[in-house]
């Protein structure tokens, strides 16, 4: 049997200079999709249950739900779904891959570190879509809310997903398993109980406003609310804050992935 080599291709940067990176990148995405083929349906069910629990379950705590409360619950459900996938599920799975050797193995593959990250970001964006969809559906069915589906609202959903996933990866790659578990729990508990995501900011002490405006979670929810639910004003500061968090998360992940012993 003749053993072929892709040596010449590797040594000749002119050949397939544009095409080859895309082929390799698609190879990474495809590999991730196959590896996660059982996880994605499971995540869909979890996110559906999560969205229904917030829209229907949390609504039971409020005696009379007006339009404002309905919008907070609906937008909060979508936002928390994105946070849960990006900052809890993604780091947990990424941390598992660190422990079972996938992380180390990926570092030996002939692909750019940023390509590895981007492929995983795409997979996790796909993974969090069912939550977004179920949140929207629950809002329409439960509160008869009309959603504003525009290029801007879709872009904000995408930016929100990428930001949370980048933060999640940074947590997973940077922290040891125990600290990672603690950080993800903190984000989820903080997000559910102590962040004005499912209720207005004025219910919390004023000093918390200064913290929340620089953390990514509340600005993300405010942007979703203003674009998708047409409630409140669109803030470029919020957009700037979450883009900065996305960039920081991506760079931290990239540095950790590229770091040589």
């Amino acid at each position: 049997m003749e053993i072929k080599t892709n040596h010449e291709r590797a040594m000749n940067p002119d050949e397939s200079r544009l095409k080859l990176p895309f082929i390799k990148f698609w190879g990474l995405v495809r590999w991730s999709l196959i590896r996660h083929k059982y996880l994605l349906p499971a995540f869909t069910i979890i996110q559906a249950a999560f969205a229904l629990a917030i829209v229907y379950g949390l609504a039971l705590l409020i005696p009379e739900i007006n339009e404002s409360a309905a919008i907070y619950l609906s937008s909060g459900s979508i936002s928390l779904g994105i946070i849960a996938v990006g900052c809890v599920l993604a780091p947990q799975i990424a941390n598992t891959s660190k422990q079972d050797g996938l992380f180390a193995y990926q570092r030996t593959l002939p692909v750019g570190r940023s390509a590895i990250l981007l492929a995983d970001i795409i997979i996790w964006c796909i993974a969090s879509l069912p939550g977004v969809f179920m949140g929207c559906l629950a809002a329409i069915l439960r509160f008869d809310i009309t959603l504003t589906i525009t290029p801007l609202s879709i872009a904000i959903i995408l930016i929100a997903q990428i930001t949370m996933i980048c933060i999640g990866f940074a947590i997973a790659y940077l922290l040891p398993p125990n600290a990672m578990a603690l950080a993800t729990q903190l984000i989820m508990i903080g997000g559910l109980l102590f962040s004005p995501i499912t209720y207005p900011m004025d219910r919390l002490p004023e000093w918390t406003t200064y913290i929340h405006q620089y953390l990514p979670f509340v600005p993300t929810t405010d942007l979703l609310r203003s674009t998708l639910f047409n409630f409140g004003t669109f803030s470029f500061v919020d957009l700037f804050v979450i883009i900065i968090w996305a960039i920081v998360g991506f760079i931290v992940s990239l540095i950790t992935l590229s770091r040589r012993e």
């Binding site: 892709n6 040596h7 190879g27 590999w31 590896r35 996660h36 083929k37 050797g101 193995y105 593959l109």
Partner: protein, 318 residues
Amino acid sequence: METMIKNKSNSNNLIIQSISKSYKKGSVKANCDISATICPNEVVAIIGHNGAGKTTLLNQIIGIVKPDQGDILFQGHSFVKNTKLARNLVSMMPQFHAPLSGVTLRQAIEAILHIRGISGKKTYVEEIINELRIDKWADRPGEKLSGGLQRLTSFAMSVVCPPPIILLDEPTNDVDPVRRKLVWNYMRKLARNGHIVLVVTHNLLEVEQYADRYLLLDQGRLIRDEKTGGINDQLVSNTLSIILNDWDSISNLPASIEAKYIEEEMKMILTLSHEQVPDAVQWLLNLMNQRKVVHYRLTSASLDTTYGGLTDGNQNES
């Protein structure tokens, strides 16, 4: 005594130049001043005790570990400076199994070809699966494969349509005797086709049988670099190991270069020159007639003797 092979200058050689690496502010030396030239067309085994620096050396070649000093050159390019190029030109089988959860054996091999950007995947995948005789398990999920099959899958992922340099970390561990031979033969085939094949292994018998050359590492230092074919030319070339059931009645030991007794194992190891072998065999036959021998082995495994003589595994285990 250090024995190093001098190779002719060739840009297709992998040149390791005075590589050193230490951890914990220099207190732990992973490897120290290692220099070697690895040529295409040869299978080179890296041997040494646990913690001798074998895996670190492979990781330095592929660019995961950055040497504190020294360089690794191939075709005039530095792998230390250009790790992206290193990953394009080097394929590595990790010490532990490649991650196979969620994918079948076939999908795992296909995935690597996709990631390497290689077309004609089906043919390559079928070829390697047939070569290693693992077609029966091709569609079984990775997590349900036995340890040996996971190891073979990892091997297949590394050698399917490979780049010029192939690094294999203990590829035959857990693999059955039949497929071990297939793995080594495949490595030889790769070498014949002009690939550089570097294999970390603990199996000295396989090294003697299949490798062209070995690098012996001890405490991060390269203490021997020589052809395996040269072993039999040495004076010390035969080892007779005997496990006895009656230790006290042993007498009239045959002439030997060295005789070792391992009391707790009831084992005697005689190192023999070629001339001493017939007398030793006669002595062994006498013992067997007296039913004092549980097990015996006469080998030309002088690498085993060399290895033990040059290193001290118990002290250096990590």
